[in-house]
């Protein structure tokens, strides 16, 4: 099994693919989190009734397979609207909104976990809404939300394997390129799977550790 025709060049190709996976993940998680916080705070602040349109739209991103979201967004922007836009941009855009949809839920859950009485107390001390949000809600909600957020970020990394459909050469696609040439599918896929595992496992463990530590006090 380890008798392979894999060369240094091929490993570089895989490394580039892995870099692309991490880049797409980083961009999407970054923009997705910012949007998610904005959406989450908005939803909490205006109440379920006024947030209904936003809730509905975000829900769509959680109810349709990511693969279809990517294909549709790509077809709509490039074929129907006729814009010239790279697959990379489409991938990052869709994945950001996808991340935001989940992140908004996590943020809302985090804010709701902060006791109302505590926030009223903060406001009675003369804190403004902004002060209350940054000095009281933020630290407490982060404790609740961070473990789920880590889970989300790792989920996005694994889901980014699907952006091959819009011609982005990420880790799984580079693996496929090599499989086509070297015809060693199982060996190469094991390498690819191992990579995801080695990134995801320690971070997931760290998330679990945080969850355990923060839930005890």
């Amino acid at each position: 099994m380890f008798d392979t025709a894999l060369t240094v060049n091929d490993l570089l190709l895989l490394a580039r693919g892995a870099g692309m996976t991490l880049l797409v993940t980083a961009i999407s998680v970054f923009f997705g989190t910012i949007l998610g916080i904005v959406f989450g705070v908005f939803r909490y602040q205006v109440g379920p009734w006024w947030a209904a349109p936003l809730t509905f739209i975000l829900d769509i991103f959680r109810s349709i397979p990511l693969l279809i979201q990517l294909v549709l967004a790509n077809a709509f922007i490039t074929t129907v609207l006729g814009f010239r836009i790279s697959g990379f941009s489409v991938a990052c855009g869709v994945l950001s909104l996808y991340t935001a949809a989940y992140c908004a839920e996590i943020v809302r859950g985090g804010i709701e976990a902060v006791p109302q009485t505590l926030r009223r107390a903060a406001r009675s001390l003369g804190m403004t809404w902004g002060q209350d949000m940054t000095s009281v809600v933020l630290p407490l909600a982060t404790r609740v939300a961070l473990p789920s957020w880590i889970g989300l970020a790792l989920g996005v990394m694994k889901d980014s394997a699907l952006v091959y459909i819009v011609q982005v050469v990420e880790l799984l696609k580079s693996t496929q390129i090599l499989i086509t040439r070297l015809q060693e599918p199982l060996f190469l896929l094991m390498i690819c799977g191992l990579f995801y595992f080695l990134i995801s496992f320690p971070i997931a463990r760290f998330g679990g550790y945080l969850e355990k530590r923060w839930s005890n006090d």
Binding site: I27, A75, I77, S86, C92, Q167, V169
Partner: protein, 269 residues
């Protein structure tokens, strides 16, 4: 840099649509780049060398076309199911991707005259008793999703009313499944079949028979309304044969024998 591109893309998406396009032929010459969609898991037409650079008949053909236009070629890898969407979405100018000139596809894209012609072979797992292509009846067969041979084979399985058809996403997956015995047989071009049997990467497969299909004429494709470019490509293909470049490329990538004729008897193009 990538982030900049991304934000630029977002900005572009918020502003209004681009003005109407000029003729694509003009655009290509003006931009100095010809972007070709090529399928790179389809040796000897398209594959990668040990440095993972694109090589093959289709890659050379794209380079020739670019040279004729006086521009540089840019090869964009696509899979079979994705080549027409890539063309429609404007991420490539033409597809030099062994595209069979079916009438269904001509509703969406514009075809040149044929530039190559394939014959298809039936390849089977050695453990399966097969002598002719008709022995595929009742067996588990498969091919690459969206290709000419896949459409033919799926139609056959439906006609026979027994057996099972499986469309895999890539040619490599088809041969892997065949070699593992998950498929009993497949239909693939003679060129690809011979290359895969010879390479030894897929133990336990054998070529059984020719598939009784109409020769699979493949053509260059671009957008349906780009008559200027289609016209140019027709003349280009004619010149490739006339100057002997077609024979040369055939010898380089496929084999010593005479290349298949691109003439259909008894009818005008």
């Amino acid at each position: 840099m990538r982030t900049a591109l991304f934000t630029a893309g977002l900005l572009a998406a918020t502003t209004l649509a681009l003005p109407a396009q000029a003729d694509k032929l003009d655009d290509i010459i003006a931009s100095g780049v010809l972007r070709c969609a090529v399928v790179l898991d389809f040796p000897p037409m398209g594959s990668r060398d040990e440095n993972n650079n694109p090589i093959g008949f289709d890659v050379d053909y794209c380079n020739d076309l670019a040279a004729a236009l006086g521009v540089t070629a840019e090869v964009v890898e696509t899979t079979f199911p994705e080549r027409i969407p890539a063309l429609m979405s404007g991420s490539v100018d033409v597809a030099v991707a062994s595209t069979s000139d079916t009438l269904e596809r001509a509703k969406t894209v514009g075809f040149s005259i044929p530039y190559y012609s394939f014959e298809n072979a039936v390849v089977a797992n050695e453990k399966v008793e097969m002598a002719t292509w008709e022995d595929m009846k009742g067996k588990v067969v498969g091919a690459t999703a969206g290709t000419y041979e896949a459409i033919w084979l799926e139609g056959k399985v439906k006609d026979w009313g027994e057996g099972e058809f499986r469309p895999y996403q890539t040619q490599a997956d088809v041969f892997l499944a065949l070699s593992q015995g998950q498929l009993d047989a497949t239909v693939a071009t003679v060129e690809v079949s011979e290359a895969n049997v010879k390479s030894g990467n897929f133990p336990g497969i054998k070529i059984v028979d020719k598939a009784p299909m109409v020769p699979d004429y493949v053509a260059l494709i671009t957008l349906r309304e780009e008559y200027g470019l289609i016209n140019y490509m027709n003349l280009f293909i004619n010149q490739q044969v006339r100057t002997g470049r077609y024979n040369e490329l055939y010898k380089k990538w496929v084999g010593e024998e005479e290349p298949a004729s691109l003439i259909v008897d008894g009818v005008y193009r």
